[in-house]
Every structure is written in structure tokens, then in C-alpha cells.
């Protein structure tokens, strides 16, 4: 493997005494789509901000394009496209001007920018709003504009912090298509997300973060194979039976996860499990059997549901 595009060793971020990112290691290869998964407060955004060089590193080592963010931030940022978690569009400018000025910040010639604006507005489905101020756009439109803005300079590395939050399904799929295309053209993607389907669809490899640490790493398939048994049985009980349900189901071998509204049972044989439940007379109101997913990996590793 050639030298990684992004490499972190013992990368640490502290806010005062608080450890937001706790000595993480990762390598992101050129041309790869790399995911960061984790519950709220895991340290994903803090990690992204160190990679984009806007947040100083507290400890450890980080290189981006083989460059040191502390001294060569400008050179790194020249080749980045950044979609921050919170939209920070320029509210004093119009839709098209937002794209235009970001091209200028990247020293692009005006004619090149104009050509790209037309194309990116189409992608963001904002062609008819190009002269509009940003303020009256809907949340999803603002998000799409932020994504288009990140692509104006044709970046080598695109960093997307929860890019599809607030997008409707159609816009999400459009973005996925676009990201595939970017990847095919040789760009590297770093994505944080709460959506499992997004991670499964887009990411070649991903890490799961929790409380500032990386708790697992691999391709979506590997992670599912390693951390979750083959099948998942979701049991729903009437509310009055939910109390103490954990103990009553304690004998189940694959492990269970008690959520607010349901119990998740991991097993290699769903049918056998259901049979056992019948014998012991703790039949649920509703049963759902499905193949295990990244969501379950997540639940097992962090003890938390991703969808909040």
C-alpha cells in the first residue's frame, strides 16, 4: 500500500481537562471512502476538525497528504472540500455567490468557477434559486448548497460531517450517487454519519468511535461478521411486561439488548430462539426476525442506539 492520505497516531484532542478524542490511530488510503460512526459526543466532529486543520492537535501525530496540519494547514486546505456538521453558509451572499466566493478563496479563475457553478447548482437542485439569498432556503436546500460549496474547488479529499442529516430520501440518494462518482474520479471521502444504511452503502472501511476512542475498525461486512451473530430477533412486549424483562430473558446465549420499546436478541438460529420463548411462556406481542446489520454492531459496541 502506498503512503496513506491521512494518518493518525495517538491523535488526541482535549478541551481543558476533557478528553474529546483519546489517542486514536487510523490510516485512510487514497481513493477510499472512510467512515466514522459513533453516538453523540463520541468525538467524530472533533476528529474531523483536526483533519481540516481548523482545530489544533493537543497530542499525537497527524498527517494529511503527508503534510503537517500545524505548519502546512494552508496547503492542506487548498486540496480539501469540507461539509461541516452545522451549515455555515455566508448569509450575506446569494446562493450562487456562496459558491463563487469559495472558488475565489481557493484561487480559482473566474471562468472556471462560473462553469462549475452551473453544474453544481444543478446537482444541488438549486438552479432556479441561484439569485436567492440563503436565508429563506429550507434546511435541506441549505444542506445541499453546503455540499455543493465543498465541491467547487474539485477537492482531492472531501470531508463530510453528517452530510445527509436533514435531507429527504431523494436528495440523499442524489448525494450518494454524486459521492460514488467523486470516488470513481479518484477523490478520497471521509464521512461521519448516524445512518447505518449510509455507512453500508458508501464506506469501504469505517471505524466505530465511542467516548473519544476507536472501539472497532473494518469494512461494514467484517464488522457485522465479527460483532453481530447472524440473526436478530426483535421482541415487543406490552408495557407492563417490559419491567424486569432483562432478567427474565437472561438465559439467552447470544446476548440481548433492552431498549425502551423493544428487546433485541442476537442469535444464530432465530427459529430455535422463538421456540424456547414459547416453551418458557414469555411470548412477545410482536416478533420481527431480520439479518443483523451495522446498527446491531453499533448497539453491541456502544450500548446505545444510533437513532435518537
Amino acid at each position: 500500500m502506498s503512503e496513506p492520505l491521512v494518518q493518525a497516531r495517538g491523535l488526541t484532542k482535549k478541551f481543558g481537562d476533557f478528553l474529546a478524542v483519546d489517542a486514536v490511530d487510523f490510516d485512510i488510503a487514497k481513493g477510499e471512502a472512510f467512515g466514522f460512526l459513533g453516538p453523540n459526543g463520541a468525538g467524530k466532529t472533533s476528529t474531523m476538525k483536526m483533519i481540516t486543520t481548523v482545530s489544533p492537535i493537543t497530542e499525537g501525530k497527524l498527517t494529511v497528504f503527508g503534510l503537517d496540519p500545524t505548519v502546512e494547514g494552508r496547503q492542506i486546505r487548498q486540496r480539501l472540500g469540507v461539509v461541516p456538521q452545522e451549515d455555515n453558509l455566508d448569509m450575506e451572499l446569494t446562493v450562487a455567490e456562496n459558491l463563487y466566493i469559495y472558488g475565489r478563496y481557493h484561487d480559482m479563475p473566474r471562468a472556471d468557477i462560473r462553469r462549475r457553478i452551473t453544474e453544481l447548482l444543478e446537482f444541488a437542485q438549486l438552479s432556479d434559486r441561484s439569485e436567492s439569498p440563503v436565508e429563506p432556503l429550507s434546511g435541506g436546500m441549505k444542506r445541499r448548497l453546503t455540499i455543493a460549496r465543498a465541491l467547487i474547488s474539485d477537492p482531492d479529499l472531501v470531508i463530510l460531517d453528517e452530510p445527509t442529516t436533514g435531507l429527504d430520501p431523494q436528495a440523499r440518494h442524489l448525494l450518494w450517487d454524486r459521492l460514488y462518482r467523486l470516488k470513481r474520479e479518484g477523490a478520497t471521502l471521509i464521512i461521519t454519519t448516524h445512518y447505518m444504511d449510509e455507512a453500508e452503502q458508501l464506506c469501504d472501511r469505517l471505524v466505530v468511535m465511542d467516548k473519544g476512542k476507536i472501539v472497532a475498525e473494518g469494512s461494514p461486512r467484517q464488522l457485522i461478521a465479527q460483532y453481530a451473530p447472524r440473526e436478530v430477533v426483535e421482541l415487543r412486549y406490552p408495557e407492563e411486561q417490559m419491567e424486569g424483562i432483562g432478567e427474565r430473558l437472561g438465559w439467552l446465549e447470544g446476548g440481548i439488548e433492552v431498549l425502551a420499546d423493544r428487546v433485541i436478541v442476537y442469535t444464530d438460529d432465530a427459529e430455535a430462539t422463538q421456540h424456547e420463548l414459547t416453551i418458557r411462556d414469555i411470548q412477545p406481542e410482536q416478533v420481527l426476525v431480520r439479518r443483523s446489520s451495522l446498527e446491531d454492531v453499533f448497539l453491541k459496541l456502544t450500548g446505545r442506539s444510533l437513532v435518537d
Partner: protein
């Protein structure tokens, strides 16, 4: 596989080290839509000049100017009004407008993910305020010429002089903005600029003050601005002029340095 690689639009070699002018490009896009607002910045000092110069100038025909030479009151007050407008214009720009972008719209957070740096932002915003200030000053100067208030060719120097005043106040204004936490803190801005305007030899010369108070007045940056523009406007130079220029220059440089450092700390956490 024959995938056509995208053409790099910006080869790394094209990176310019100076980027502050990108902020001017941005602000130009913003202000070309609100040019009417900009016009008000021109009319304010002109109205002052008409009102005070014509009105009070009738009652007070002559005052001692730089070097004790008696001059027409309107000609005495005009450069000071120019100085005050340079102060007010840049302070307004680097406090209210910047605070809005910094704390509410998070404009700069986005800009910092591009090759721009916080120093580019600081220099760019101060510079923009100066460009705006230079336009006002030029317009005001034209009015002064039309009213026959300029006796010497040296008076053209009032324009760069006003820009220097703008630099001093704009830099310190931006530095102050980085310490502000809420809009309430901005009451302090006029609490500072208002007395400066009233007590910095804007309307009468320094020796009107009791000798005990005079050193205090000399601490006012606007006093140095007023005296500098007066000297330019009347073409009367002596060694004190160098002191005025140095005072404003040092003030501006310190302000710009603090502003740039503080901005960086605020934006890059």
C-alpha cells in the same frame, strides 16, 4: 480501466501567500447591493460641516490654528470632522458588522476551512474598512475644496491621513470585538467614541483646556488624528506632526496584531 481523471483547476503552484483581498472580493459582493447604506456614511460628516461650519463659523470668525496662526473657524473644524468620520466609519465596520459574522452567522468558521487564515480575515476586514473610509474621505475632501476650505496643495494629504486614522481605530475596534460577548457590550463602543469626538480638539484648540487637563487630551488618539489632518489641510508642518503619525501607526499595528491573534484563538478551538 479508462477513467478520465478530473483536471485540477488549481495547481498547487498558483497559491498566493497574500489572500486578504479575497475578503474584499466577498465584501464587494455584499456591499454592491447595499450601496445606499454606504451613502449615509458620506452625508453625516457633510451635514455636520454645514451645520457647525456655517452656523458657528458666523459667530466665531477666527481661531488660532496649528502654530498659532489664526484661521477661519470652518477651515478649523472641517479636518476634524473628517477625522471623526474616519474613526466612526471604521469602528462601525469592524465592531458591529464583524461581530455579526463572527458570532451569529459563523461566516469565518466556513472561510477557515479554505486556504484562508485568520490573519487573512483580520487584515482583509481592517483593509476593507480602510477602503471604504478612503472613499468617504475623498468625497468629504471634494466638499472641502468646493467650500474653499483648503488653502494648500498639501491638503490632499488629508485623504491618506484619514486612512491612517481609520487604520488605528479599525484595528483596535476589531481587537475589541474579539472580546465582546453580547450586543450589550457594544454600548461601550459609543461610550468611548462619543467623548473622543467631543473632547479631542474637534471644535476648539487644545489650549482652551486648563493646563492640568491638556496631557489627558493628548492621550486621545482622535486628538492626534485631528491635529494631523489640520496640519495637512492647512499645509502647516512642524515636528509634532511626526508624533501624531507615529502614535496612530503604533496604535493601528498593535490593534491589528491583537485582533489577528485573538481571532485565531476564537475561531480555531
Amino acid at each position: 480501466m479508462s477513467v478520465s481523471l478530473p483536471t485540477r483547476l488549481t495547481p498547487p503552484g498558483r497559491m498566493t501567500p497574500f489572500r486578504a483581498h479575497r475578503i474584499w472580493e466577498r465584501n464587494y459582493l455584499v456591499y454592491r447591493r447595499v450601496w445606499k447604506v454606504i451613502l449615509t456614511g458620506f452625508f453625516e460628516p457633510v451635514f455636520y460641516l454645514f451645520s457647525i461650519g456655517i452656523g458657528i463659523g458666523e459667530l466665531v470668525p477666527e481661531v488660532p490654528g496649528p502654530g498659532g496662526v489664526p484661521i477661519d473657524y470652518t477651515a478649523f473644524v472641517a479636518p476634524a470632522l473628517m477625522a471623526a468620520s474616519a474613526m466612526n466609519g471604521t469602528v462601525l465596520e469592524t465592531t458591529f458588522n464583524i461581530f455579526f459574522r463572527l458570532k451569529f452567522e459563523k461566516t469565518y468558521d466556513g472561510i477557515l476551512t479554505t486556504p484562508m487564515s485568520s490573519r487573512d480575515i483580520a487584515i482583509g476586514e481592517i483593509g476593507w474598512a480602510l477602503v471604504r473610509g478612503a472613499l468617504y474621505s475623498t468625497a468629504f475632501f471634494v466638499v472641502m475644496v468646493a467650500m474653499g476650505l483648503t488653502v494648500s496643495w498639501w491638503s490632499v494629504l488629508t485623504i491618506p491621513g484619514a486612512v491612517l486614522i481609520g487604520f488605528a481605530f479599525g484595528s483596535v475596534g476589531l481587537a475589541a470585538t474579539t472580546f465582546m460577548r453580547s450586543w450589550q457590550d457594544f454600548d461601550l463602543v459609543s461610550l468611548v467614541t462619543m467623548p473622543l469626538f467631543l473632547f479631542s480638539t474637534t471644535f476648539y484648540p487644545l489650549d482652551v483646556y486648563p493646563p492640568a487637563i491638556q496631557p489627558l487630551i493628548r492621550l486621545s488618539p482622535l486628538y492626534h488624528g485631528n491635529e494631523m489632518l489640520r496640519a495637512f489641510s492647512l499645509g502647516i508642518f512642524d515636528w509634532t506632526l511626526a508624533g501624531h503619525i507615529a502614535f496612530l501607526l503604533v496604535m493601528g499595528l498593535i490593534g491589528a496584531f491583537v485582533a489577528s491573534r485573538r481571532l485565531d484563538g476564537l475561531l480555531r478551538k
